[in-house]
């Protein structure tokens, strides 16, 4: 799995960092998404899929590796 984000559309709701903190964080100044692990291990895939589904601005895009 590969994780892509469109930071320009991010409004920093933080649901990704809440749901999959191993993979997503937020910029300290603007609160926008920071990807910690763009190719997360399989054990985290479900969390990442959940995070993408929760994002209020559809910022997260996932591709099968």
């Amino acid at each position: 799995m590969k994780v892509f984000v469109d930071v320009a559309r991010c409004r920093g709701a933080g649901l990704c960092a809440l749901t999959a903190p191993e993979v997503f964080d937020q910029d300290e100044e603007e609160g926008t998404v920071v990807v910690l692990d763009p190719e997360p291990p399989a054990t985290l895939h479900q969390k990442v899929v959940d995070a993408a589904g929760l994002c209020p601005n559809s910022v997260i895009r996932l591709e099968d590796a």
């Binding site: 409004r11 300290e28 209020p56």
Partner: protein, 432 residues
Amino acid sequence: MAGVDKSPGSGLPGLSFREQDEPVAGSSEAELRLPTVRECPFDPPAEYHRLRDEDPVARLAFPDGSHGWLLSRYEDVRSVLADPRISSARGFTSSPIRELPPEALELRRIRPGQFIGMDPPEHTRYRRMLTGQFTVRRMNALVPRVERIVADHLDAMRGMARPVDLVKAFALPVPSLVICELLGVPYADRELFQRRSRALLNMTTDGPTLVRLRDEMDDYMLSLVRAKQRQPADDLLSGLIGREDEQGRLSDEELINIGNLLLVAGHETTANMLALGTLALLAHPAQLAALRADPTLVDQAVEELLRYLTIVQFGLVRTAKEDLGIGGRSVHADAPIVASLAAANRDPRQFPDPDVLDLGRRYSPHLAFGHGVHQCLGQQLARVEMKAGFRALFERFPTLRLAVPLDEVPMRDDMFIYGVHELPVTWDGDAR
């Protein structure tokens, strides 16, 4: 003309009072008004069952005589809230709940800094200044302080004569103190801003009172801004005052409106979730027992209570910027659209057994905080407060129960934010 039924289809041809240019499907039906009457204190009006199934994009009559649309399905509500063709900037133009009296019409104007009533890019600037202050990381750093505040209030509550009003002793003061510390508002002033917020969010408050309350809140926040301009402190308001971006610094008017927005939104909402959430758990003992048996359920419990209770009870008002289609119907430009968060969160197309409170739901993409660019700025703070609040309350008061029958609890049917006006509770002499 006394005694003439104004409703269409009343058997008096030619006496329809509907505007001629507002064609309506099924014109023999009475006009739909926003459903507001609940049959059960935890459920949205039952009318939404019918609307979701038969009329998910329903023609809606507004109290001021205009017409718009009411969305009740999850999919439609979610997509409209994220649609850039839908505006929030004219959201105050028409209320589905009340017609503002002429002397209060100025309240409809979106004021500088009131970003909940703006579209990008204006909205984006304000939001960008604030989101960094409400990140998951920052809110998690507040946990020890929030837990302390929760514990202090529960300590005090333990010593009170029973029954105790949980709203007054716990649900309202905890988030009030938290937002005061975060913003830099003196907690000693809480009576003032709590009273004003309560009146402002009450749909029966008259126009002149609304205007006066708004002016009082402006004066109060301006004096606070002035004090922090002279002597900045380590709080959010001081940070906003000192902040500068490409467009310069925020004006006093912007600071006043942002400050008041955060202050009101920061305590009323969480206070009602804490009190109503407690009531819902007390009324569902098996769910409460599951939470007590496994306190790690609290994360899921908070999401489920948010979904199940959806305290923004009348939904969000938006406006179509252009002609567009929603759920197969044509919505014209400028038409007001009410997106019912409460109905969406009970849509069986999205949530199995939606009317069941089930803390076991693992993944819940509910819309209680809204959706799209306006989704609640303070949601991570709210989560921290609710998790700490529910966990400690039920741990320290294992025999907590209602002190009156459920149907005697005064519900906030008259408030824009749903909840309970009071929550009389008691417990056996074993609080920890």
